[in-house]
Symmetry: C2
Subunit: 123 residues, 2 copies
DNA sequence: AATAGTGTAATAGGGAAATAGAACACTAGT
DNA sequence: ACTAGTGTTCTATTTCCCTATTACACTATT
């Protein structure tokens, strides 16, 4: 797994698993790989994985069952809320960053559209 | 100054000053506050500020003159290039993050538009 | 009971970031 | 010459992140 050395690894693992849950790669109620297997998958330490999981457990997205495994919550409302929250965070942060670069709303939209067309042509 | 504890302070200082240059708060050729004053302004250590400045100096955006001060480059091309670079980085990162949440191009645009209208009504 | 596979916790050590403090190098004004 | 204000560099210390290792607690299977 590719890590941005500017951001703590445990945080990037958490984001990565959140994405898998939201994309449906991990379904509600589904069992996650064991912490030891996850550690191998992302080439990080068990403790680092555990720290990421702890935060997701505290957030109610993951249910931890000692001796059995970690499971994605069955509560689909929580997942929907999580998705909304992550999207809003991303959009808000991007908007504020670009606004801080003196771009108007229209310029921000145009930059994004331009990026999309560029990207579309390359693939 | 507000810091995100997930990202190194020196890096956030650098971004902050870059924004001031691009917005024109700091004009080409203008003298920056002294490193000691900057440290007070952002409530960080002189060494941390110096580290941020070192990277901007290396990038050719800041000219350092020992005994006199730090100055924004007179080369406006470099500033224009910097702006383009930062915009592209922000747009690309936001797009990729939202794309990773399974949003189509259209949905990404709509999320942004929605955020803008919401924001517009509040202010 | 024994074993293997889980989550959980504790310890010890290394490294990067940030701080505090001091010192050095240069410039300008007095 | 002196002094004050600059950038620059160095050392020491602290804190957080990450790793490695070990141990403990629980579950299911045999």
């Amino acid at each position: 797994m590719h890590f941005d050395d500017k951001i703590p690894i445990y945080y990037q693992i958490k984001t990565h698993i959140y994405h898998e849950i939201i994309m449906g790669t991990l379904q509600p109620g589904e069992k996650l790989p064991s912490v030891r297997q996850l550690a191998l998958d992302v080439t990080a330490n068990v403790n680092t994985v555990q720290r990421a999981l702890s935060e997701m457990i505290a957030a109610g997205i993951i249910d931890s069952k000692r001796g059995k495994g970690n499971f994605v919550t069955m509560d689909e409302t929580k997942i929907t809320d999580l998705k909304t929250q992550l999207i809003t965070e991303q959009v808000a942060r991007a908007y504020q960053q670009l606004h801080a670069l003196n771009l108007s709303d229209e310029e921000i939209l145009n930059s994004l559209k331009h990026y999309m067309t560029q990207r579309g042509n390359v693939e």
